[in-house]
Amino acid sequence: MKIPYYPGCTLNTVAKGFDTSARQSAVLLGFELMELDQWNCCGATFPLTPDNVMGLTAPTKVLVNARKEGDSVTTLCSVCYNVLKRTNKVVRDDKDKRSVVNSFIEEEYDGSLNVIHYLEVLRDKIGFEKIKTAVKRPLKGIRAGAYYGCMLLRPFEDMGIDNAEAPTIFENLLRALGCEPVEFPNKIECCGAHLAMGNEDIVTKLSGNVLSSAKNKGAEIIVTSCPLCQYNLEKSQKKLAEGSGNTQMPILYFTQLLGLALGQDEGSLGLEKNLFDVRQLLKERGI
């Protein structure tokens, strides 16, 4: 099975490990991510004001290129997923906006693409049961907090990947990998996102709340599907721990954990780019 794949700007640069671990895990699970021949940044934010049609042009260009390669496209970054899926819905359902966007980018796109997240591929096309049987290195007893953040889930009527207030897709994947998923109150709260530009104190507070919420419930690691969440959580954790000597939790992309469990070569997972390396913990547990 081959699935057209949109990496997005961040996975092509600072979050390279998210990309490589996902591609290799796919191969181990019997499918292939086919990177789109042509793609551009999705704009990293879905325009909140309905009169901003310009903000739909960049993601529509991505969708047009993806449609030429198949009837669905998958992506990993929560923000790309949010922007592409919501834009696709607008282009499909709003004739006037569709016509403006199409004439601007000189294409004819009708919104007929199916935008799916990599997690949905794992759940709906592969199945967590099958993943469980493919695990070569069960991450037994690792207490992992699944951090969803905002963009994967909200708004529910557009995203629909899971329940917006009590999602379980991440936890089910973690269970298949042998981990013990940890429920924590802040798993769907914001990390501070783009406030990292100019309002670092707020990011430190919001990400700090997520970290302490997970830690208080016993999490040893946190997994995420958003490079900005990963950056904010790592950076805030480092800042908050300065001088305190607190132990620090590895913050990983879910595909890095998936790769480890499937027995991928550790060197290709980008783990060394994470501020806190999970391999130390695995070694301590004899995994």
Binding site: A44, L48, P50, G55, V79, R154, A193, H194, A196
Partner: protein
Amino acid sequence: MLIKLGKENLQSEFVKLIERISGEELANCYQCGNCTGGCPVSYAMDFGPREVIRLLQLGQEDAVKSANSPWLCVGCLQCYCRCPKGVSAAKILEALRQITLRKGEDHEKIKEIPFPFLKNAPQQAIVCGFRKFVS
């Protein structure tokens, strides 16, 4: 806070502009406060989302314009998801940002953004930050 109510602010052009840009009808909000309750940044805002909507319902343009609230909204959409009336405070706050940005006024000066941030932050943070803060 002492506010003056009159035809000139209750039916002001500014309030109409907010409704047009955001696509939201301010009168739909009945002030239950679920938005502010769910908002992760309301603690740092001059006025939380509920108060911003109330001030706009009352046409208090100056109070809203000088507040830091629009610039602190992260667009996480908790307010909208928890609103029993389906009002999106996030869209209203975005409209307030857009009114400034569409005049060509930047909230963040690109030249003043620290280099380590531009070098190390995920591209999506920079792109999104520019979309939210720069005209």
